[in-house]
């Protein structure tokens, strides 16, 4: 009987300690949770991204959740687009060896002389960033990379963020799920 009582006593002690631990943990981390600007989605900061190409290869998804986006409002609508054509192309035609995008995800539409409107097919884009690199080096920087939130699994820790050389991928608030340039 004595052993039994001792066991019961130890158990009650354990319960008190356990309850106390839960309350303390909860209280301490709740303060952090309630702090302003809780962030939830992963997103690329286009001002930091160096278009290194790891976004294509390091996402946990077979087809990266990172896609090129195009801000029309800052686009120059150039005929010789740094993101569309490879550098030093001889002829401005749409033969694959002239084009920057390895998957043919960028298409363009003639607007008026000498302007072209560019758009990206999200299903084809693999997030390699070649176009963005071209556009940022030779153009207005209207092409850049963003994590598409509808595709992203919102991993607890983004695999790309951990290999991104520029540390460009950070958590952002839900209300600002994209870092759009314009």
């Amino acid at each position: 009987m004595k052993a039994y009582e001792r066991r019961e006593f130890l158990r009650t002690c354990g319960q008190v300690i356990a309850g106390g631990t839960i309350l303390t943990l909860f209280e301490l981390s709740l303060r952090k949770a309630m702090a302003k600007g809780a962030t939830y989605f992963w997103q690329i900061d286009p001002t930091k991204c160096t278009f290194c190409g790891r976004c294509e290869t390091d996402c946990v998804l077979p087809m990266s959740a990172v896609k090129a986006v195009h801000s029309v409002k800052i686009c120059g609508f150039c005929d010789l687009c740094g993101g569309y054509y490879r550098p030093n192309v001889k002829e401005l035609n749409t033969a694959a060896e002239n084009l920057m995008c390895p998957t043919g995800a960028i298409s363009r539409r003639f607007v008026e002389e000498p302007y072209f409107e560019y758009s990206i097919d999200e299903d084809l884009c693999n997030g390699c960033g070649k176009c963005a690199k071209g556009c940022n080096s030779f153009g207005n920087g209207a092409l850049y990379l963003q994590i598409k939130q509808n595709l992203c699994k919102n991993c607890n820790e983004c695999e790309i963020a951990k290999v991104c050389p520029a540390d460009a991928i950070r958590r952002v608030p839900i209300a600002k799920a994209y870092n759009l340039k314009l």
Binding site: G37, T47, V111, G139, K148, N154, N156, D167, K181
Partner: protein, 414 residues
């Protein structure tokens, strides 16, 4: 920091080519960027979590039936696993909580905090009902489990040190903001997402094959969250009982348990007298701190190696090598480092702070490892007198398999 970003954006968008003046009345196309309703889904997740845990608790503690556990397992694998793709899960949330407690800059989402704390609260009240079938990993293993080949008690005890070690490292790398290793080496998430890193998926498949023959290898020998829960379920207010009628020592349930939580009756032959008992306690009192100090020292000495996991530390190594011997072709990291105009000095102080953190936390966690190992050894060397078949609250995951084996329960159902 923010200010700098804004300035940069303005600088970057100064156009090399001016905005065209369209004459043909061109309209800029609207581009939509879809944002999923995460808030909504996280409410549903929390509701499902509470609902399923209550359901399991009702079934295994009140009603002593197993079918709700199976049903819950199926729902959990389907919903948390294949539909929600298993992220964020309670196991990984350990790291978010650790990081939130240690770092001022990290704000943990309330939803993740609840994912972490709710199963612990339920465990304190009802035992590991979360593990029973609400956790998609446990559920998956539960559903494929057919046979229970038993491992020897010594082997399972030694192996069950690993979750604590894993937990220790997970916390170490989380509080230093280096890596979430639980997420990195998650064996099942690849299965739920139907794609991922091949070695990890293979590991997950191997675990599942093992769990066909012996219950829940992941829960018992890997899962760090299970280790935490086992502490709370050790002292839980109500717990699973094999039968409410009283055990008749028939042994029938003994082999039913997939996680070896049912302890057989045992009688200590030698009655320990008082002075021997005091002696034993004294030995523990010396042994425990010794092990803790040993653990702390070992981990402290190794902390520099652990710090290599941190990205900034890796960068610093690369940069300082480059400073000594400038490289012809610079790696992407170096290009970004110099491109962003960061200075070596700045990085150096940053890295020194990170390494200091690593030393402190490694020491603390080392002491903790020492404690765990010492307690495991002590528990292996002592046996408690027991008259009936009893469930060990720490190990029992509340699967409810043992109920149907007990003849006392059979009578009730007639």
């Amino acid at each position: 920091m923010n200010l700098i970003n804004h300035i940069k954006i303005i600088v970057q968008t100064t156009n090399r080519f001016p905005k065209p003046d369209f004459e043909s009345g061109y309209d800029y196309p609207e581009r939509h960027y879809f944002v999923p309703n995460e808030a909504f889904w996280s409410y549903i997740d929390i509701a499902m979590l509470v609902l399923l845990m209550s359901f399991v608790a009702w079934a295994v503690i009140r009603k002593q039936v197993r079918w709700p556990v199976i049903l819950t397992s199926i729902i959990s694998v389907a919903y948390f696993g294949f539909f929600r793709h298993g992220c964020v899960c309670s196991i990984g949330a350990v790291q978010n909580v650790a990081l939130a407690l240690a770092s001022d800059s990290y704000t943990i989402p309330l939803f993740v905090l609840l994912m972490f704390i709710l199963p612990i609260i339920f465990t304190l009240f009802f035992g590991r009902v979360f593990c029973a079938g609400v956790c998609p990993f446990g559920a998956l293993q539960e559903l494929v489990n057919i046979k229970n080949y038993k491992l020897s008690k010594t082997v399972t005890t030694i192996l069950s040190i690993f979750p604590w070690i894993y937990l220790g490292f997970a916390v170490l790398f989380a509080v230093t903001n280096s890596r979430f290793i639980i997420c990195r080496f998650d064996p099942f998430v690849g299965i739920f997402r139907l794609g991922g890193e091949l070695p990890l998926i293979l590991f997950g498949v191997v675990l599942l094959i093992i769990s066909v023959f012996t219950g829940r290898p992941f829960c018992r020998f890997i899962c760090p969250y299970g280790a935490i829960l086992s502490l709370f379920s050790r002292v839980s207010f109500s717990r699973v009982k094999i039968t409410k009628k009283g055990c008749i020592n028939c042994q029938l349930c003994h082999n039913a348990c997939p996680v070896d939580a049912i302890r057989a009756p045992y009688e200590n032959k030698v009655k320990e007298n008082r002075s021997a008992g005091v002696n034993r306690i004294l030995r523990y009192i010396i042994f425990l701190p010794l092990m803790m100090i040993a653990g702390a020292t070992t981990m402290y000495l190794l902390s520099d190696n652990f710090s290599k996991v941190n990205k900034e530390v890796q960068l610093y190594d690369k940069v300082s090598e480059n400073e000594i011997r400038p490289q012809e072709i610079q790696s992407l990291e170096l290009q970004a480092f110099y491109g962003q105009g960061r200075t070596v000095e700045e990085l150096k102080t940053q890295v020194a702070a990170i390494k200091k953190d690593f030393r402190i936390y490694s020491g603390i966690i080392g002491a903790f490892f020492g404690l765990v190992i010492a307690l495991t050894l002590i528990s292996l060397s002592t046996k408690r007198t027991r008259k009936l078949y009893e469930i060990d609250g720490a190990d029992c995951v509340g699967c409810g398999r043992c109920f149907s084996y007990c003849p006392q329960n059979q009578i009730e159902r007639g």
